[in-house]
Structure formats: C-alpha cells, structure tokens
Symmetry: D2
Subunit: 116 residues, 4 copies
C-alpha cells in the first residue's frame, strides 16, 4: 500500500473508532483545514527579519510538526471523502504550474502568472 | 524512496528550476499555506445543507483536487525546509490525539478534549 | 470627532503607550487580522444546524464580542496606517456592490456576480 | 445616529433589498469574514522587506480600501445579528488589553501576555 494510502487508513481508523464521520461533512473539514493552517501561521505572528523567523523555526520545531500534521490530516480526510488521489492531484498540479510558470519567464521572479 | 519523499523531490525541483527558494522563508510559506487553505474553503461559501455541500463537492471535484494539491505542496515545502518528516509527524500526532481523545469518552462527541 | 475616528484614536493611544508601532508594518497587521478573524470562525467549529449555531451565538456572545473587537481593532489600525477612511471606503464599496449585484438579478440568489 | 449605527443600517438595507438574510447565518458570516481578511493578506503575498511592503501599500491602496471595507461589512453584519454593540465591544476590549498588557511590562515587547 502506498504511504499516502496507509496514512489515510490511519486517520480514517482514528475517526471511525470515535464515530466522528457524522461531523465531517466536506465544508466543516475545509473550515478545520483553515483553522489548522492559521495555527501554523500564528507561530510566526510578530516575528520579523530572517534571524527571528529562523530562530522560531528551530525553537518551536515540535509545534510546527504538530500543526503541519493537523493540516496534513484534514487534507487526507478531505481528499478521501471527495474521492481525490492526493498524490496524483499534486503531480497534475505541478504539470499545470509548469505551463503557467515557464522557467524562462518565471525564474527569479515573484510575479503571479497573470503578470509574467 | 517513499511516496512523500518522492513528491517532495518533485516540488523542490519545480522550485529550484525557478530559483524561488529566495522567496520561501518559512513565514511566507505559512502565509501561502493559509491562502491556499482558504481557497478550498471558498468553494463552499454560502453553500448550506448537505444537498448543496455534496453537490458542490461533485461538481467542482477538479477545483478541490487543485486546491488541496496546493495545500499539500506548501505543507511538503514547509516540512522539508523545517527538517520535519511529515509522515512521522502525522503518526506521532495521531498517537497524541489517541491520548487526548480516548475512545470511550470521545465516541460520538464533538467536544474539545478540554471539555471531555 | 466621528465615532470611527474616536475609536481609532483610542487604539492608536494603546499602541503608542506600548511603543508597538515598530511591530506593526501593514503585512504583519494583515496577518493578525486573519488570525483574529479565524478566532471568530473557530467558535463555530463543528457546530452544525441552525439550533447549534444559534445556541453558540447566545452562549458565547461575550467571546464573539471580544473577537469581533479584535478584528475591528486591526481593521482600524490598517486603515489608519494606509491612509484609508474606513467609513468612506465602506460607503464606496456598497456603491460598487450595488452595481455588481443589481437588485432585480441578485434578489434571493446566492450566486457570485460573475454568474448572475 | 452614531456613525457605526448608520453604516450598519446601510449594509442591512443592501442585504434586505436582495433578500440575502436567508444566507447569513452567523457561521457563514464568520466564514466570509475570514475569506475577506485573507484577501487583504493576499495582497502582501511574497512581498518581503519594508520597501516592498510599503510599495504595495501605496500602489494598491484602492484594493486595500475595498478589501478592508468588505471585512468591516461582515464585522458590522455579525455584530448586528449577534446583538453586539461593536463600538462598546472595542472599548471594553481595550480595557481588558490594558490589564493584560500593563505599559511597564509590555512597552517595546512583542511577547504575548502569557509570557510577559
């Protein structure tokens, strides 16, 4: 079994043991995905300058691991419930982005593809 | 190579080809992670009731695949840059949640662990 | 002095007494605005159905007052720092939305203006 | 009539003319509040360093005015629907923050009150 499939099985088992599928319609999963993503961002609140940002990245590595795991958990649950193969979706998105951001135009630029 | 490692290599190759690492400090990656998560949520804006929510889940499946892929992409980049093994982080978080939400107390409840 | 101007003076006084302007570049204010908005949303996490939503709206009214105040505080600070008159900006936006969502087309519809 | 009350009347009139109260339960208003707050933040995506941040603040002032107006609009609607006086809520929150962040401890510090 692929790694993503295996991890999905684990979060589904956690959910099923608690009978939580009833709360997990896709809209509420998306809401929780946003809440977890902002918990990642919150760790950087008021941190300015590379020294501070790198400092907090090291000091609070465990918190980042926990919060990124929560984001990943909701991403896996949503993908599962919507019938999306997350690995394939990412590979397809990289292909799209390759077309939107051709290397010769995008290299070293922070512009959106609409402005390239 | 594990699936997550392989996908990480692909997003890193995409980034390196464009020389975008310079823009990707961890704070700005976290900011983009939040923006992508809200793009998932936006698809459900004003959708109410299970019929509408399930309807949009089907009709806009490709949009969800693209937006979840973006969320996954930034999760992989952050984990890579912070030196976090995302698969292990998720397994460790499931263990923590097993302790925070014991099955006999959490089953069928939507309460936070602080209220169980 | 107008009410919004007066409230802006109060939050500026709070900030200046603590010498916090140094942390308040507009990007970091926008980041905090998002964090506070998600704290409003978090109160509704896993609440489904009108009975639950209305229930939490009543039970946690003080929490909503505090979180909306935080959102308003950062909105006032950003508007002030960017030289924006918030009251006029809102009136101008209502005018724009009047044009984007003409009553005869938008009445009773949850569609985006691009789909009307 | 106070300025905030007057602006609230205007956004309520806009809503009532379109019969949109039916879509505006408080949870969905909170969701839209988050989406609008992230649209403010998105303008700063990948902008780094004070020169870039100040530059975009000037160049895209009208976009900021529009997005902050949207945030303010949803804040007013939520406060109205929840029976909250937004001006009083802000003044009460400033009082609370005065106690949480005493000037002698908080001056010049970016720490959370729990760490002061």
């Amino acid at each position: 079994m692929s790694e993503i499939k295996l991890l999905t099985e684990k979060v589904l088992a956690f959910r099923d043991e608690r009978d939580w599928k009833q709360f997990h319609n896709s809209k509420d999963l998306a809401l929780s995905l946003v809440l977890e993503a902002t918990e990642v961002l919150e760790i950087f609140q008021w941190k300015q300058g590379m020294a501070d940002i790198d400092g907090v990245a090291t000091e609070r590595k465990q918190d980042f691991a926990d919060e990124l795991a929560d984001v990943f958990c909701y991403t896996l649950l949503m993908a599962n419930d919507l019938g999306i193969d997350l690995g394939k979706a990412l590979e397809a998105k990289i292909e799209k982005n390759n077309a939107k951001y051709p290397i010769d135009k995008a290299k070293g630029s922070d512009k959106k593809y609409t402005e390239l």
